[in-house]
Symmetry: C2
């Protein structure tokens, strides 16, 4: 069994040695730039881990792992353009370093390259479902920006599509390619999807309640931006009329002191009982996720790296 | 053997009956809108014609035909955004009817749908080569906009990638799916590619020398826009110093009377001998294209619809 760190190295090596046509460089340089900005390579690593539960030769599915990572980075490239973000992993985004049309077209080429790397195999339909689902998630995410009546169920479905689906399919595809049973592939999918949901909710919580000494960004950025997080959506649904009016006042205020807004909204969250609610949901999701892992019919020692991974995510404070 | 018109109907029926998920409608409505704006369905029809040379059951490859047409319309959707075009086939383009982000994301979903429809089969690698090549062609096209030293060879390579490649692969994929020999598949590819090049050069010629009574657009639009056509590129390369200075004066003029510019540049083209040069090239390409069709090892009666198609293109005046 490979350790997670070993798999990360293997994926990084694969990404760095990927060759692109030399021309037109204006098309392929942004692809290579995007793929070598770093990142935790979680999706291909999960795919290799799932495969490695059943088979030793993880190198056999490196093209598929590269396809998945290429697809993920394609979504980041186009999302950065749609969100008009300037920075990605501390470097200029493609549309800032080059221009909008380059971001569109190099992203398109990257999506084709993802299918090229992934190739023809028995997990093709799963790959299509994953890649289409992520587009659906991004669409809901954009639609939610202009709505104040998003429900918790709608929000969970959006983050499921936008983030968790690809984690679930990473595991499922690894299992399918290794010839695992349908039941195992399905349990691994559920493990990944639930863990992904828990991870995303943790993100929402840490933005407000993270340890300011450890958190990479300034706390409360989501509050400043009125981002429809699990916290804000539930606060809007659960607030009493007075709290709701106060919350809407801050959401609709055109100009404000950021620290003041963060303090006021955090205090509202606290009074409504949002942190407890969100933490309870995260624990539920982690528990469900581990249940699905338990159900996978391989010896316990084959699951060791998955448990390490889950524990690492569960315990994160930033 | 199916007639071209019968195949167009079959493709239109397939496109119109294609079903998309009902939600998110903001993602899938633009896809369906784009695919039902009309169009000549040339690529899927060529694919079906090539298949029909060897096999009768053209319905068997309808998913692949739909995949190809979906891919083609995806390129139009993103190209319209990159070119900031307002109209496509007389209707509002997707980014005008909705917005830029919708055009980006619905286009992305459309590219995934193209792969989904195309599916897993022995022509998958050809489909990848075609779809990646078109991105490369679009990249060169954008780069040429800001250059005045584009050579004829560079231009031919750009239109080969951007337009002809997909026509060639449409035919090749049809042949491959029908189990044709590698030689036949390759000859059909060449037939499509050469015919595509001839068609594109005809477009360049008709923009200036088309019959004003029959031509759909106002003549000379490419001249007004300084578009790097086969005519302009050769004029810049072949002009004597005085002609070149005159041509550059019109290219660089910030404000001008359109009719005056069109008349002046057309007169320069005539003096440099551009229309003869371009028409000679078109004839050469048509001849080469028909040579490749001759080389395909099927009885002559199976090629009848291809000859009709080629004659129709050859004789077009608008």
């Amino acid at each position: 069994m490979y350790k997670i760190d070993e798999l990360i190295s293997l994926v990084n090596k694969q990404v760095e040695s990927a060759e692109y046509p030399s021309a037109p460089s204006g098309l392929y340089e942004p692809v290579s730039y995007m793929l070598t900005l770093g990142g935790k390579r979680i999706r291909p690593v999960l795919m290799l881990m799932a495969y490695n539960m059943y088979k030793d030769n993880v190198m056999d599915i490196m093209p598929q792992a590269l396809g998945l990572e290429t697809y993920h980075n394609f979504t980041l490239l186009h999302d950065d353009l749609m969100d008009k973000s300037d920075l990605r992993r501390g470097s200029a985004t493609v549309h800032k370093k080059w221009n909008d049309n380059t971001a569109i077209l190099s992203g398109d080429a990257m999506l084709v390259l993802a299918f090229k790397h992934f190739g023809v195999n028995k997990a093709f339909d799963d790959f299509v479902k994953a890649t289409l689902g992520v587009c659906e998630g991004q669409q809901y995410d954009m639609e939610f920006e202009t709505r104040n009546d998003v429900t918790e169920a709608e929000y969970m479905e959006m983050i499921r599509l936008k983030t968790s689906l690809l984690l679930g399919y990473a595991l499922k595809i690894g299992a399918v390619l290794a010839g695992a049973s349908d039941e195992d592939a399905s349990h691994l999918y559920d493990f990944g999807e639930k863990m992904g949901l828990a991870f995303q909710l943790q993100d929402d919580i840490l933005d407000v309640y993270g340890d300011p000494k450890l958190f990479k960004k300034k706390l409360g950025a989501d509050i400043v931006d009125n981002k429809k997080t699990y916290l804000l959506i539930n606060a809007l649904q659960l607030a009493n009329p007075k709290q709701k009016a106060e919350l809407m006042k801050w959401i609709e205020m055109p100009e404000f002191d950021s620290d003041e807004k963060v303090a006021a909204v955090t205090s509202l969250y606290n009074n409504i009982g949002i942190p407890e609610l969100a933490r309870k949901k995260v624990e539920e999701l982690f528990a469900e996720s581990l249940c699905s892992l338990d159900a996978v019919s391989v010896p316990e020692d084959k699951k060791a790296e998955f448990r390490n991974f889950a524990n690492m995510l569960h315990g994160r404070k930033y």
